[in-house]
């Protein structure tokens, strides 16, 4: 085969890859690791760009060497022995390549350690807010702990944090291993039974950042999503104050009837609504259900219709999850939805 045609043959194959690379960089989602919203993710982002640029250069150089090795004019006929001069020259290149490799790795290592230091900078911040996150199959329990137990706010699948203030997450698991990950805010950390792990995050701008459990945890691993809502501090304080309150009393007749339905149903075997007799801890706390953005761990938008669908057929939406199916007659169901919809 004519070696000179090699390049022209290889080029078409390289094109799709390059195209993908370019298109990949152009696309951004609402929860992109390279769209950092805080210093932790920012440090990782910078580290990545360094790694990428250097690696891309290395890749191009190695591929060029490979193509040249195939296409250059080859004069040596002897299979077993290489002339000493040629051997020395090539050996020089190989040794040089290894030397550069070592140098690059050293740079990478130093950059890694520096990035680690930047990320760990807020680990010991005494001003930080502490939030307890408990992983459960397949939702997140969030607790804003307080020295006074009655002021502990419990919610699910939605973490509110103040902008600009470090947040320490205390990570535990109630069943299997999960992993907390919100790409825009930084790296992930596993929630392991028997261990208490910590992760520090900080948001520098307000916004809603999505994330998802990253460690395989069973049937609904795919649908164990979490959102982090970063708010200006005063807005956050107001939210937290409201979360600490017991549930809002029903106002309308429908809501009152709905609470009766709720308390007479099997809902109370798993869920609690603070301020009522429903106090079970095994399912998400519903005290301020209506204030949340999503249902079923980030799977459904929190609307009346979705809530109704979720109650009637949770196994159709998230097969294998822990919530059983229910049927309510219409005259009970609508008041129930009224009531749950009123739990701001």
């Amino acid at each position: 085969m004519d070696f000179r045609t090699l390049l022209s043959r290889t080029a078409p194959a390289a094109l799709p890859a390059t195209g993908l690379l370019l298109s990949g960089c152009g696309l951004r989602g609402s929860h992109h690791a390279l769209d950092p919203a805080g210093p932790q993710a920012g440090a990782i982002g910078s580290l990545w760009w360094l790694l990428l640029v250097v690696s891309a250069v290395v890749f191009v150089v190695v591929m060029t060497a490979l193509v040249l090795a195939l296409t250059r004019y080859h004069e040596t006929p002897d299979r077993e022995n290489l002339p000493a001069q040629a051997h020395r020259t090539v050996m020089g290149w190989v040794a040089g390549g290894v030397g550069v490799t070592v140098l690059i790795l050293f740079v990478f290592l130093v950059a890694t350690l520096l990035a680690e230091r930047r990320i760990a900078a807020i680990d010991a911040d005494p001003e930080a807010l502490e939030i307890s996150v408990i992983g459960r199959q397949w939702w997140w329990e969030i607790q804003y702990e307080n020295a006074a137990p009655w002021l502990t706010a419990t919610t699910a699948n939605e973490i509110h944090i103040p902008v600009g203030r470090p947040v320490h997450l205390k990570l535990n698991s109630a069943d299997v291993i999960h992993s907390f990950w919100v790409p825009s805010l930084g790296g992930k950390r596993d929630l392991i039974p028997g261990h208490t792990n910590r992760l520090s995050i900080q948001a520098d701008r307000a916004g809603v950042f999505e994330g998802q459990c990253a460690e395989f945890c069973g049937h609904q691993h795919a649908h164990m999503r979490i959102i982090v809502v970063a708010q200006p501090p005063e807005e956050f304080e107001a939210w937290l104050e409201q979360q600490r309150q017991p549930a809002r009393e029903p106002q309308t007749e429908g809501e009152i009837r709905g609470r009766e339905v709720f308390l007479a149903s099997d809902c109370i075997m798993c869920h609690s609504i603070r301020g009522t007799t429903a106090m079970s801890q095994v399912g998400p706390d519903l005290t301020h259900l209506a204030g949340r953005r999503t249902l079923a761990a980030g799977v459904l938008p929190n609307t009346r219709g979705h809530l109704g669908g979720w109650i009637l057929d949770p196994q159709g939406i998230k097969p294998g999850n822990r919530m059983p199916r229910h049927t309510f007659p219409a005259e009970q169901f609508h008041p129930l939805l009224d009531y749950l919809g009123s739990l701001e």
Binding site: L27, V98, E116, A120, L171, G186, G187
Partner: protein, 648 residues
Amino acid sequence: MNPEGPRSAAVLPTAGPRAADARASHHDLDRVWSPPEGLYGWLTTTSHTQIGRRFIVTAFIFFLLGGILAALMRLQLSHAESGFLSPDRYNQIFTMHGVTMMFLFAVPIMEGFGIYLIPLMVGTRNLAFPRLNSFGYFTYLIGGILLYAALLLDIGPDAGWFAYLPLAGPEFSPGHRMDFYAEIITFLEISALVGAVEIIVTVFKLRAPGMTLNRMPLFVWALLVTSFMIVFAMPSVEMASAYLILERLAGTHFFDPAAGGDPMLWQHAFWFFGHPEVYIIFIPATGMVASIVVTFSQRQMFGYPAVILALITTGFVGFGLWVHHMFATGLPSLGMSFFAAASMMIAIPSGIQVFCWIATLWTGRPRLRVPLWFVLGFVFLFVMGGLTGVMLGAVPFNLQVHDTYFVVAHFHYVLIGGAVFPLFGGFYYWFPKMTGRMLNERLGLWNFWLMFIGFNVTFFPMHELGFRGMPRRVYTYLESTGWEPLNLLASCGAAVLAVGVLLFVINVLWSRARGQAAGDNPWGADTLEWTTTSPPPNYNFHFQPVVTDRYPGWTRGPDSPVVVGLKDDAHEVLVTTTLDAVPDHRTTFPPHSIWPFLTAVAVAVIFFGLIFTPWAIPAGAVLAMAMLILWFWPKHHVLHRGHEEDAP
């Protein structure tokens, strides 16, 4: 006889097989070394070429099955919230995909190539411990069949090939699904372990006279290093899966934090095996690459000693990386820095190898045939995967992309790019030796380009999916995530990849019947296996060669020296010294036997039966013991016709 008796081999004044002892007849050798016919022969053979081929074919079938599972996953993931597979099924499928590719495909096929090629490459008649070899194959086959039977019966393991506790434990994986995983993995890896011991002993003790360590082909070096890694890595996963068996079936508390155990113990034990596993798959592939590069550039390996040192270094450092699978578990950061440094350091030996391959091509005269195309594809993909691997060593970056599709992309670049492409190159390269026919070159080029393009279209977008927050092992995703277009693209790429693999299957089936006849050494290769006929006779070499340099395939002629004086009417093999390959003594290999097969069945009874009843242990143990006694019952006299003091 005096054990301290004469240990020197006489040097005869004649040279070459033509002048050699005329009594050594093909006929006698063929009669002695041929396996028996029929089904009984299939179950009893101890021929390394037969068992090696069988390993390769079986592993390739598992590769196709694993590929079908992958295709099912790509179908499911091509659209958001697809209902094609239930989470229950999907979890079994992705678990079995991983188990298949790691345990049933990658390691066995590499060992299969080793079992087939190493005795040929070192110039001997069979692998050391031929019966153990047969036993190893049957444990592998039975284990694989049981796992797939379980999958078809809806009892497929569903907690991931990594089976993290407590999800894989008794509480969260009820039923027998993970019992199958734990039992069969423990059982299956016996095969890898015995294969490794056989290869080590063959390489150390059965090399042809004159094949000193620095004349050994790089493929043999690679398999030697791999085998050592298997010997030290596999026991870790064997023990871990034994703990898992005990945890599930006997109620121990190795992993239960409430009783003093720790789920992290599993992760340490598993990844202490799991990371070396990657190199166990990759190092033999580099051996294949070295063989192909040398042959197709018609130039001895540049930096042969450096490459060997790189292989050995990789083997060692490969054991120091396991924690980089666990950066997200919250281990102390000092330890993590050590493992980060080690993870980056492993790039150095890999870099040395890549540079030496390029230097060999540079100084040689490359002939661009299909095997070399696969090697070029390999270098492209492996360098890419290696670079993302170095990135993953950077702890903070790792925390961002760990357990995402970025990692899925990375390790498919390293494993498919780094092992499957060389493997396909190896298929094209050694197929003529195994069958006597060439694979079709034109189909081969189509095969290569479809696989190469399909692979990149499948896996390159996954890097970006990882950045966008798509975790691994999800059975579906919401449409609002925006992951759909790239997933669809990946699924289309998978289809192209699948067509490429299909072309290979067609090529093999077609060429086996009608391919061009190959001759002994169609590629002008340098290693010893090409000096015998294609396919090799059951006894490999009419006369065992005496090796005088590193490239016997290039330098040997009809007058090259050979070993004479071995009995041609017994399974007699020459044993040489470990370092210098000086003749030491003759040994007689055992004949074909049914007991290895029956022992494998008995051991399978223990492991498989234990899933259902603890009585399987005593029953299976007694059975296995009986089989082993019959297997090892000394009957050295059987083939020693007229041998002194052996008469019963």
